[in-house]
Symmetry: C2
Subunit: 317 residues, 2 copies
Amino acid sequence: MVKRLGESIPAALPDALRNHGLLVNTTTGLYGWGAELEAVYDGLKNALSAAVRDAEPTVLNFPPLLPRTVFEKSEYVSSFPHLFGAIHAFHGDEGAHENLERAVAKGEDWSGQTRLTDFVLAPAACYAVYPLYSRIVADGSKAVDVSGFCFRHEPSTEPGRLVSFRQREFVKIGSPADASTWFNEWSERSSALIRQLGLDVRVEAASDPFFGTSGQFLAENQREQGMKLEIVVPIGDHPVAVASSNYHRDHFGRIFDIQSAEGEPAHSACVAFGLERLAFALVAAHGPNTAHWPDGVRELLWSGCPETPGRGDPGPS
Amino acid sequence: MVKRLGESIPAALPDALRNHGLLVNTTTGLYGWGAELEAVYDGLKNALSAAVRDAEPTVLNFPPLLPRTVFEKSEYVSSFPHLFGAIHAFHGDEGAHENLERAVAKGEDWSGQTRLTDFVLAPAACYAVYPLYSRIVADGSKAVDVSGFCFRHEPSTEPGRLVSFRQREFVKIGSPADASTWFNEWSERSSALIRQLGLDVRVEAASDPFFGTSGQFLAENQREQGMKLEIVVPIGDHPVAVASSNYHRDHFGRIFDIQSAEGEPAHSACVAFGLERLAFALVAAHGPNTAHWPDGVRELLWSGCPETPGRGDPGPS
């Protein structure tokens, strides 16, 4: 049999996840999952697609990696240096290979045997979106529905704090009014949706985990100006942010040279959903057996077939 | 509008992918994709689940990362040092952060500003599976259906040679007879399935891209002993391996201390499918509009609803 979770899955995770084989061990902050939890992710994907459909977004998906050039441009390294992951690879010859093998075999630090590649791990799904609109004068505002695996280097036993997780984001790029309307609208709509999933929702003013002493000022500023709201639900006894709305002002418009129709740097806003945290909260609230979840929740997640593809879906445009 | 692909998507990719917004640019070997291609991945997921159902596998999914300890133990670094990706992170204080920011701003190599973490990118989906069976005496053979994003550091404009891609593997762990039967059976069954998708299939003896001069002997040996078969289909004008069957003998059983019922190191075999390559081959063969694909192919990919979860699915056991 596969080793079931209890063994080194953190005690802080609810028994419903620990004791029913929904998660399997890899290491702290990184877990595999079985068929039932995968069905919950599929259900969340359906429910979120249905929720955003009326905005007629461009639907985009990205692999877990981001080009290093985009990352370097994004200023992520200024604000969150403690969280990113950079991909290193080995570029050596057979002699260097022997050194690498020896270091690995001896359990030595082999950091120095590799070099930075052209890839980093995506810190958020929407970072792949903005460069696509670079040097384009927007003809009206743009809505994008974007999905991808993200990375944050904060290994932890806190429930739902994973190093690798799936993010779904609804992004708006346009005028200041477009972006702030999106921020307000989706703060409401996403908390209503999560409430419909039978979860106990609290909306809180929040800030990002900026690095260092100057970061504290940035965080206070962000909170005071109401630029980030988090939707917090319980995972067992722990309150956890399962979604956030973020108003970026012209941060990404300026960096990636996206212009609004008025010729100014475009403003942007996004609402971001953490699929693992939502799934863990659902299992904690409704139990490990999805067949016993409330009918309304099952309906939202799994009603009807996913749309048959190729019937009028224009793809990205 | 989003920049459509033609711009820097490799010319080697068929027009059906290049000119219909199915892929979007990020950088060489790394592309985003739209709703239509995502529906093809969902369809392949359905078709592969249906194909393996009679083996009653344990279904597991893993994030794109693997614990470094598992990677170091796996001997991947001996055979394929040129392909792995290791995750580095920044561990410094505010002074070190200034150096990092300066290096990034000047476009200098900032390799030295980060250190190896406890994570690497998964080189193959099945590497997360074997440690779960460590120090377990198998009571009969085990079948596992495993999914995940994998990484290979070989940025390329070849069609379907991606640095980050989805793998689906059907793995067998047990006696030598269990493993070799799985290898033979799934070489047949997977080529039959891919033929049913309307693709022109060729099965070839193959070898893995072992590193260095000693690697050449390993590759010849593997090929002579018939331990790897590839299922090759055209993506436009290019023959590309979309699946492979692999007989590992006791390689993983020995490394991860998995015993067969007879008390010997277990043998293992897997069949691995590359979902992006399969999807690209389908688009190249049947065109960019999935509504016009042959009825039999649409039936295989999208017939019926995915199973409603929680109705007798035992999850991993």
